[in-house]
């Protein structure tokens, strides 16, 4: 083993030990809540059609970018509340907060909507922090963060009008949305409290249902802590026709060249039986970063891409 590798792995050992404790307490939390832990395949015939998430292609198959579609097939079969901790693969995503292979925690609660799922998230993060002996306050990048429930909620429309001077719900400029989100909105979020950013423009609904009574927005919420995008929750869309329409739009808009993107038919077929539910994907590496006060994902992953 090279000296550089030994020294690096020794340096992050305390973080990886803490990571193991975090995984234990996540599992303990969901088992206590009566969730079933499930496993779904990493090698899949289709990845979920998402405009800005590119799968790795392997011999005509794909590495899973998210366990969402398979977990929903279990839900459609009547499995009830399920959770999973798994690896996801997203091509080209490498940076301070990204590794192309990363760990995702995903859970679905039957009969919950997106805000019910956010309540799960608040309790989960507090339970994990408590297990680590942190109580309800953690320190990240020199700031104390108060994790006490309920976390402040705000809407995409409100924060954009305040921080960027326009309302993407009224009229969406897709190019500007992501740039302003990263440059203006996220840096303006509270440094001492988590923020729940809710009600995304309908065009950014992905697999979330539109809000009953206000179809300009989707029932989608994201959790930000210490400037990190931690999790993304939906009231799950259970309308198969609407979902297929969205998938077809994505496939049309995405110029994938040699990467042919077939429609995930088995999943679409199961959606008719999907019960009303809410779900969320939470970046485990990001949670570990927060709880280890780590600025880089490489500090909480033993073998990131360049060192694998």
């Amino acid at each position: 083993m090279s000296r550089a590798e030994t020294s690096r792995l020794r340096q992050i050992k305390a973080n990886l030990e803490r990571r193991a404790l975090i995984l234990d307490s996540i599992r303990a939390f969901f088992k206590k809540e009566g969730f079933l832990e499930v496993e779904t395949p990493l090698l899949v015939p289709q990845a979920a059609p998402e405009q800005f998430i590119a799968p790795f292609a392997v011999n005509g198959w794909f590495l899973s970018t998210s366990p969402e579609m398979h977990m929903k097939r279990l839900l459609a079969a009547g499995y009830g509340n399920v959770f999973q901790i798994t690896h996801c693969f997203r091509k080209g995503e490498r940076g301070q907060l990204h590794n192309p292979e990363f760990t995702m925690l995903e859970w679905y609660r039957v009969e919950a909507d997106y805000m019910g799922i956010i309540k799960d998230t608040e309790r989960l993060v507090l339970a994990v922090a408590n297990e680590l002996g942190l109580g309800s306050t953690m320190r990240y990048k020199g700031e104390d963060i108060d994790l006490a429930r309920p976390w402040p909620r705000t809407t995409v429309s409100k924060v954009f009008r305040k921080a960027a001077g326009w309302d993407p719900v009224l009229r969406l400029d897709p190019e500007r949305f992501d740039l302003d989100l990263v440059d203006k909105v996220i840096p303006g979020l509270s440094k001492n409290r988590p923020t729940v950013l809710m009600d995304y423009p309908a065009a950014n609904a992905s697999m979330a249902r539109l809000k009953p009574g206000d179809r300009k927005v989707a029932e989608r919420a994201e959790v930000f802590i210490g400037g990190l995008e931690l999790a993304n929750a939906y009231s799950e869309l259970t309308d198969a026709a609407e979902l297929e329409k969205r998938f077809r739009n994505v496939i049309e808009e995405t110029d994938e060249g040699e990467l042919h993107r077939p429609l995930p038919r088995r999943f679409l077929k199961s959606v008719a039986d999907l019960p009303a539910c809410g779900g969320i994907a939470l970046g485990v590496d990001r949670l570990v970063m927060l709880l280890c006060d780590a600025a880089f994902i490489d500090e909480v992953v033993a073998f990131p891409q360049e060192m694998a």
């Binding site: 080209g92 992501d178 995008e229």
Partner: protein, 189 residues
Amino acid sequence: MSIEISEVSRNTKLLIDGVPFAVEDVNFVKPGKGRAIYRIKMRNLFDGVGREITYHSGDRVEEVSITAHDMQHLYEEGDHFVLMDTESYEQHHVSKNLLGNKAQFLKESMIVSAIMMGNRVIGIDMPKFVELRVVESAVSTRTDTVTAQMKAVKLETGATVNVPTFVKEGDTLKVDTRTGTYVERVTKK
């Protein structure tokens, strides 16, 4: 060659509006469901000025190959130097302007490092120090102040430098090409 922005990494050389840049840092940011944003810090290889440009996933940029070659100075021709690649023996005409003030210290048969973009020389790295012979020891100049301790001498390349009064015609001097100043007299064999 056109490449995807996701393929750009530190030390990639990019051609932007005809100007070569060296990438110094790539900052990748991406909202989970959103577009990838690449903030690329780069340095202009002509004037050394840094800049940052923001790209989105799917954007394409022009990569250029920038290489360094050892070249020997063969002769001068008007406002050009004729250099020869010491490996391929290819000859290149290089404008004296490219060397700026350093041009006056480029001696025949001297080896320099030529920075090439494709087949074009875009920069010359001179050695930091060169040794040049004094051909005229009492030169009057308009710009340089001749003090009691210093005088101006003319070197074999035509350059004029201020030196201590003990320097004589025929001496070989070490000159700093970055500042254009005398460093020391090189001991004769």
